[in-house]
């Protein structure tokens, strides 16, 4: 009985709540009348004109996020009618973006990476920007072309990076070597690596050159040897070609001859750290290493030159990210104005001067900034010297995985170079067939 009375009280409470909601009493209409006064029309006026645009990207570092926020602040001052909501994604960006697209809640504007953006364009998720007024001629051709699919522009490149050869000046001085120049070749690289290697201190060995099993570094050597990773329309891999096998032979010879190492050999996940600690005299990295060294290893003295040329000349990789607009956006014009502002000359100059990335506008090529910053200039000029976009088609992640594993097999299981690349090519072909 006790329980029953408790339940009855509950039911009564619920009943009271329900009636309270269901049938509004008369006094409440009076309060409604009170709110319908003149001030309300005034309040409504401003937000009705202000369009809200959501913008998202990965947050790679707090200072980079702050930089974007300062640009957006400048935008809001100049464009009071548009309110930009910045929603940075920490963690796995692509996973978060794809799930938000699947549920129809994606932001209006977001970062698209050269490595996977074509999947979005192919599936009609991105808005072509040609009708919105994109000026293709203003951008570095290879960059704007990288975001063109089926003759339509789907992204405005916000910045880019290539690989530069970072070298540690102190280690060069110690070995009594001349600093590298843009005219170096593979032979110079090999020679210098041998002379720079110093394994006398087993707790802190110094290697000449770092050769990570990284699909974002190794292809530069393939290009320098006249090879490619994929054929022209990405329908087949060319990793088992002679040019690629020779390149892999050269790339893995450093470690085999104990004048090179992988970052993992030295207990690090990234060669940037190894370089900063002075355990690798030369590494191939992008412009992102410059702010990292400034923050983490402020004492290091280093320089940057273009990667040494191979038998077939210069070869490099282009990494670039663009602003894309969602095909589902309700305010394409407002979104376009944001993208246009973020990629205009003033914004790109701010980004360039911060040292994070290189500008995508062709007009900034002759900027004074590059005269005063030869390190950034070397990375910028890489784009015009045998550079290929970091993009391998619809099976890109498989190509990367297989390329990395092919190098790992050579490093860790002493597999023959040609066999390892053959196995990788077969796995890639199988993945292509399953598309």
């Amino acid at each position: 009985m006790k329980h029953l009375s408790k339940i009855m009280t509950l039911v009564c409470l619920a009943a009271i709540l329900l009636t309270a909601c269901g049938a509004p009493a008369t006094p409440q209409t009076i309060t409604v009348k009170e709110t319908v006064t003149v001030p309300e029309t005034q309040i409504v006026e401003v937000p009705a004109k202000q369009t809200v645009v959501r913008l998202s990207g990965w947050a790679s570092s707090p200072s980079e996020t702050a930089l974007l926020e300062s640009l957006l602040y400048r935008f809001s001052v100049e464009n009071p009618d548009i309110q930009v909501k910045y929603e940075p994604i920490t963690g796995d960006y692509k996973q978060a973006l794809l799930t938000s697209i699947a549920s129809g809640t994606e932001p209006d504007i977001y970062y698209i990476d050269i490595f996977w953006w074509q999947e979005l364009a192919k599936n009609g998720v991105l808005l072509p920007m040609d009708d919105l007024g994109v000026n293709r001629d203003a951008f570095v051709p290879s960059l704007i072309d990288a975001f063109t699919f089926d003759g339509k522009t789907y992204g405005v490149p916000k910045d880019f990076n290539t690989l530069g050869m970072f070298y540690n000046k102190d280690l060069f001085d110690k070995a009594g070597l001349e600093y590298p120049t843009d005219d170096w070749t593979w032979d110079n690289l090999k020679e210098a690596a041998a002379k720079l290697t110093d394994l006398s201190d087993s707790t802190k060995p110094v290697y000449g050159f770092c050769t990570p099993p990284d699909p974002g570094r190794f292809p530069a050597f393939v290009f320098q040897n006249g090879g490619t990773v994929m054929n022209a329309d990405n329908s087949d891999t060319t990793l088992d070609s002679d040019a690629a096998v020779q390149a892999a032979d050269f790339y893995t010879s450093f470690r085999a001859e104990k004048i090179g190492a992988t970052p993992a050999d030295l207990g690090e996940g990234w060669q940037g750290t190894v370089f900063g600690k002075g355990q690798c005299a030369m590494v191939y990295e992008g412009g992102w290493l410059i702010p990292y060294l400034r923050d983490q290893f402020p004492g290091i003295k280093y320089g940057v030159v273009m990667p040494p040329a191979g038998p077939a000349g210069e070869g490099n990789l282009i990494f670039t990210v663009a602003w894309g607009i969602s095909a589902n956006t309700k305010n394409p014009d407002a979104a376009w104005r944001v993208v246009d502002f973020l990629t205009n000359e003033a914004s790109q100059t701010t980004v360039m001067e911060s040292g994070f990335a290189l500008p995508s506008l062709a007009s900034l090529q002759g900027s004074d900034y590059f005269k005063n910053n030869p390190n950034s200039a070397a990375i910028f000029n890489g784009a015009f010297n045998g550079a290929h976009p970091f993009f391998w088609g619809a099976v890109g992640s498989d190509v990367n995985d297989e390329m990395g594993k092919a190098l790992e097999r050579i490093f860790k299981e002493n597999q023959a170079v040609a066999d390892s690349l053959k196995a990788a090519s077969e796995a890639i072909r199988k993945a292509i067939k399953e598309q």
């Binding site: 599936n123 207990g267 619809a394 992640s397």
Partner: protein
């Protein structure tokens, strides 16, 4: 009387479900629906960008035709279960038995052994990454120069060891409660009959613990089949796929690949569910069916 009883029963049921409703809501939305939807997706071609398209058993066919699944993920997962489950069960049983004795600082040791279980697996994974780094503590103590997590021969065993380290505490606690449930009268009777401590352990304690052992092994098997976060943090399935397990492969297909294969990933998730179901069923037969103390 009869009518009054059934009405009481109805109100009881209503209040019961009323109290259950928050949990039921969460269960239906986040578990039951997701399970059903994954089952549906396993028969579709779905890349997250376009609506799913029905393609029958194609996803399953592709799973069974995939080299990574056949040569790495499947054998790796079974190896993981077969090594981790017996060791963690044995260690936790021994620990529980020790903690059940009248030792000094018993409470202190219980806390120490249980501590890894309440620590976030990501934090423990990072600690292990540092412990087993080339210049890490483990190599310095043993004066080895092995790069544990970057060597296909060792990486998986480090992860196994870590899992044993973290889960043994929880399992110890379950065993401990099982041990304390055994009536002292049974031990007394065994002593009067002249059984020595070893005989008592194998002839009294173990049989009496059988339901608890079944529970611990089941929980262990299911947990091991689903091992993911440690691998995601420590090795990302590498080096050379030596730590790729079924759950990591599901993640790779569903989110990491350039072309998303959500349908194929869902098919693998369904296959994993079936594997766990069959293994649990067999194990129930083996553990509960072998003794006479089946309850």
């Amino acid at each position: 009387m009869q009518a009054k009883f059934s009405r009481k029963k109805i109100t009881e049921a209503v209040t019961g479900y009323l109290f259950l409703s928050p949990w039921l809501f969460v269960f239906i939305v986040f578990s039951a629906f997701s399970l059903g939807y994954a089952l549906y997706l396993s028969f579709t071609d779905y890349n997250l960008l376009k609506p799913p398209v029905w393609w029958g058993w194609e996803g399953y066919a592709r799973v069974f035709d995939n080299d990574l699944f056949l040569t790495k993920a499947l054998p790796n997962t079974f190896k993981y279960v077969l090594i981790v489950v017996p060791i963690q069960t044995a260690i936790s049983l021994v620990l529980a038995f020790a903690m059940d004795q009248n030792l000094r600082f018993r409470k202190f040791f219980r806390t120490v052994f249980y501590l890894p279980s309440v620590t976030s697996s990501v934090v423990i994974s990072l600690i292990f990454v540092w412990l087993f780094a080339p210049q890490g503590i483990f190599n310095q103590i043993t004066s080895l120069t092995i790069n544990w997590l970057d060597d296909p021969k060792y990486a998986f065993y480090v992860i196994m060891g870590m899992n044993i380290f973290t889960t043994s505490g929880t399992l110890m606690l379950i065993f401990l409660s099982g041990l304390q449930d055994i009536s002292p009268a049974i031990y007394e009777a065994a002593q009067i009959d002249g059984a020595d401590p070893i005989q008592i352990f194998f002839k009294v304690t173990i049989p009496m613990l059988r339901p608890v052992i079944f529970f611990v092994v089941t929980v262990g098997v299911i947990g091991c089949f689903q091992v993911f976060d440690q691998i995601f943090v420590m090795t990302k399935g590498g080096p050379l796929d030596s730590t790729t397990t079924l759950t990591y492969l599901i993640y790779k297909w569903a989110f990491r690949d350039t072309t998303i294969k959500m349908g194929q990933a869902s098919a693998l998730a369904v296959i994993l569910t079936l594997i766990i179901l069959v293994v649990t069923f067999v194990q129930r037969r083996v553990i509960e069916g072998s003794g006479s103390t089946t309850q």
